[in-house]
């Protein structure tokens, strides 16, 4: 029997196709692509959700790692596509609201989530589940700032000239802090303009990332910054000399949420993932390592961690979500002012 080259190639192609197709079908039904941050967040998802909770269900989790801004851009760019690339998208509450108003997300069918009933009532949304949350606080170095600050306005004290630092990526919350110090509110950041320019003349420092700011706090280049309480907890754990105070002007909440894009390829797997994110053991792990608070009623925290990352009852009572509508309308102006006037 003579086997021609063409026959061999044909046979190989058929064999490859028959071997590959079931694999492809399996991959499509048992995979979920999660658009998330990398670093600690991505790693904790892997350790506490992907491997222990999703793998036993036979669902493979693929992380699409990027910062929030590129992920938002991707969701917007894919809005019209029949099949999107993300099964689940993780974003902050402000960003998630923006994506929802751009019609990029599904309205969640809560009956498909076994854990829906345990979500803290204040954090429930129709288009996303809350994963973890924290509050905006003022972090300070107790060795240098000997009188503990009480408000955002303390950043303008001339004795801290050149010692206030900002993370560039948190331009929106930095502007919020300035607005509140100037008598503004959750729905009016205009007073921030004068306050930020004042701070600029007081030689405030701007760092390109949270990590660069952490290095500056560690090296005692700067002594004070508005930051998430959870970050402060992580940095304290890393040996940076820091304390925090919930500013008396107001407690701004940040919730990191997860949602299902409208064009998610496999919604069953996506819902299974959201359910896993709400499991108490996964929530506790994020609190322990990253200092974020659980968003479900039945996750218990070890007392020593709870003491460090929780808010007092009074602070908890005044914790408020940002004014999403205002932020969506003014986001461009806030960014423009930050870039052109404050940094310019």
């Amino acid at each position: 029997m003579i086997i021609s080259r063409r026959a061999t190639l044909g046979g190989a192609a058929i064999a490859a196709a028959s071997a590959g197709l079931p694999g492809l079908a399996r991959a499509q039904s048992k995979q979920v692509v999660v658009g998330t941050w990398g670093g600690d967040y991505g790693e904790l998802l892997r350790q506490n959700i992907d491997t222990p909770l999703m793998q036993p269900q036979g669902i493979e989790v693929l992380q699409d790692v990027a910062n929030a801004d590129p992920r938002k851009t991707k969701l917007l760019a894919e809005r019209q596509a029949r099949r999107g690339t993300m099964g689940v998208a993780c974003l902050s509450d402000t960003d998630m609201h923006m994506m929802s108003s751009q019609d990029a997300l599904d309205t969640l069918d809560m009956s498909r989530l076994k854990r829906a009933g345990s979500i803290l009532p204040a954090l429930r949304k129709p288009y996303a589940i809350p994963h973890i949350y924290s509050a905006l606080v003022l972090l300070y170095n107790p060795d240098k700032v000997t009188t503990a600050p009480t408000s955002f306005a303390d950043m303008w004290d001339p004795k801290y000239r050149g010692r206030v630092g900002f993370s560039d990526i948190l331009y929106s919350t930095n502007t919020f802090a300035a607005a509140m110090a100037g008598g503004g509110s959750f729905g009016d950041y205009t007073p921030a303009r004068n306050k930020l320019m004042e701070l600029r003349s007081l030689d405030a420092k701007i760092y390109p990332s949270n990590e660069a700011l952490a290095a500056a706090l560690k090296g005692e280049e700067v002594w004070m910054t508005p930051m998430w309480l959870a970050r402060g907890y992580m940095w304290q754990k890393a040996g940076i000399p820091l304390r925090h105070v919930v500013p008396k002007e107001g407690a701004y909440a940040i919730v990191f949420e997860a949602a299902v894009p409208r064009n998610s390829r496999n919604k069953d797997n996506a819902y299974a993932y959201l359910d896993a994110m709400l499991q108490p053991q996964a929530q506790t792990a994020f609190a322990d390592r990253m200092g974020y608070l659980p968003t479900v009623t039945d996750a218990s925290l070890p007392p020593e961690i709870a003491k460090q990352i929780s808010l007092s009852e009074a602070d908890q009572a005044q914790l408020k979500a940002p004014d999403y509508e205002y932020l969506q309308r003014s986001h461009g102006e806030i960014l423009d002012f930050w870039n052109k006037q404050f940094k310019g």
Binding site: L76, P208, G219
Partner: protein
Amino acid sequence: MAALVLPAGVLVLLLLVAPMLLLFRISLNEFSPTQMMVEATTAANYFRAVQDPYYRQVLVTTLAVATGSTLLTLGLGFPTAYWLARMQGRWKSFATIVVMFPLLVGNVVRAAGWLALLGNGGAINAALLGLGVNAAPLPLLYNTGAVVAGIVAVVLPYMILTLSAVIEGIPRQAEEAASNLGASPLTVFRRVVLPLALPGVIAGSVLVFVLCMNTYASAVLLGGPQFKMMAPAVYDQFVRGNNWPFGAALAFILLGFTLVLTVVGSAVLGRCYRR
């Protein structure tokens, strides 16, 4: 023969021309904070970019950094290219690989290296503080100098390899003849080598200038948050501001300036060459 161009032509048409046309169309739309983009046919985004002093300053910074980096690269690259072109034997291949070495490392990784070298806790400052030369770290990072140094390190191989290929084509005898007739080394360079190497100077400078104008990683990582060039400004509008129409207009302004300056620069240098 023309058919040979077809595969590359189709690829360019699909992957470059079509997205560019789409981007141009986007640049004529209007931005809305709530709807993101509203279909329109307006040049308002272009007017805004040209009239806004901030973006004019960003463009001026970009042009200054690109021009400065190109001239510095030319100054540093020419002697090396000449030496490489005149090299003989097996060491030449080795030297060529050494010249190309920076291209083997990604832009971001290279910039991370610069961060480790120039940062406040970086190698240089650690050494200066350790030796007691300085009491406080020198601000070596997050300024124009750091960006130019980063860019030059990236683009130098392009200049050297382009120049060296042209200089190799200049007969050694031409230089020897000039020397025999009493020309000093400087005169030989000015009257013989440089005019004959001018096509390489033009090609290398155009290539480097275009790369410098579009610098992103070096500008962001080494320039810091207060340093702005056009490519990061375009990214900012698309990704942080979600303002695609304005970002697209900025991208076309950058493209237009780069194109015009490249064509005019080449024409002026070319005219000098013909003389």
